[in-house]
Amino acid sequence: MTTTTPTLGPAPAPAAARPVRRRRSSALLTYGASLLAGAAIWELAGHLIDPVFLVPFTDTVRRLGELVASGELPTALLASAQVFGAGLIIAVLVGLPAGLLLARVRFLRVGLEDWITGLYAMPMVALIPFILAIFGFGFTPKVIVVFLFAVFPVIITVYEGASSIPARHIEVARSFRARERHLWRDVVIPYTIPFAMTGIRLAIARALVGMIAAEFFLAVSGLGELILITSRRFDTAAVFATILVVCILGVLLLALGHALERRFAAWRGPS
């Protein structure tokens, strides 16, 4: 299965089969070497460059340890996780049925598809000042921002998945006198699940951006607050440490998204 490429690219062409097993150990070795080399370059550059701009790797790790020990980082992480989780869950809960309805109900599709494409292409950050003015500070406006960032990829991928159901599947179901309700349960939803997983993966990535943006520009909190405050104090080591944490978080969430997608990709079957 080559359907697990990391970007929102076009569906990848089937790559030539490679002997995977034999290469895995050597790949791990080179990745390890690459990480070590990166750390070494960072360390060296950190000693050469003004510490306001770049601090050595070891100092960053030490500062990271302090942030964890003082409880600042865990508190921030928890606050961010709440915003992220609430926004993402609502986005998925809204996006899945919305995408399905859009694919199955003709007047909704015709009426709303341009709106949804437009909203998907629009940078949601532009709405933050309005959300601030209308909803003020607090937890809810931040969840709204994360929701707005995350919901459209879910709607669109689910919609595309559900409207790409081969006509013969629906015809077979219909010839067995399936009603719309049964059609949903036995054809539409199972067929769409792999697409929904792709949407959720995209939503996870966007929700993370939305989370940081909300924490910067609405009531500052969580990891965003930590980055903002430490950068204003010119505590470069702490800035790097927090960004490192966000980066690792991003990679882990992306990997989770890919795992979800792979888990359900087998479902997709030969198209």
């Binding site: 970007t7 015709v110 709106w115 081969p166 719309e180 520009f217 470069t236």
Partner: protein, 273 residues
Amino acid sequence: MTAAPATHVGSAAGRPARTRRPRLPYPVWVKGSTALVIFALWELFTHVFAPHYVARPTRVAAVIPEVVTSSEFLAALSGTVVPIVQGMVVAVVLGTVVGLAMGQVRWIDRSLKIYVYGLFALPMVAVLPLVTMWFGYTEGARLAIIVFAAFFPMALSMYDGSRSVSRDYLEVASSFRAGRLAVWFGVVLPASLPYVLAGFRLAAGRALIAAVVAEYLIGIEGLGFYILLNARSFRHNEAFVAVLALALFGILTLFLARWATRRWCPWYRQGAG
């Protein structure tokens, strides 16, 4: 209600039946009435529930001519669009070359993959305070964050493309003793053009977000700052015009990428969206 997705019955010959967005007879009245309903609901809700300064469709429409011709708005527009175009050029060129090299040369792949992947996953908003520490609260910081935001999706998409180039093409090229540069830019790049365009679409979206966020935080002239300033002084209708401009810009890049895919990669069946 019960309309099954219409499919291209005629094109069933040999091709898998996963057809894309069904071609419906274009019911203009459905689109028109949905738009009317949305605008009416918006107008009604803001009228009843929201404070008077919140943007309403009628008032936004009323201020559009005035805003669009005002010098502040035009300055803000060029303030955002010009650095995005500049940053995109840099990111597209660099990202294409790096992605291509990663897809074709194993040691480059192995040594860069972790970093490209990791920085792709990192929301660029988080790096913004760091960039302001490096570049100061300047336009250079905005350009830097645009390049940073656009480079990684570009490189990663090109990486996928250059890995998925058919072995046959490469073997034919090498049996004609094509040099490495000729293979890269004569075979691999054209063959992965759909990926370049998909990367471009993703990168343009991210660049737009990056520019707006940078303007919020740094406070330099641009559409993002225009929105912030007007929203703060309770001129939501004026601010909303800038939101529309940003949405328009996003939609334009989307259509540009789609059109280019159809124009230059007619062999490639592209998904909608």
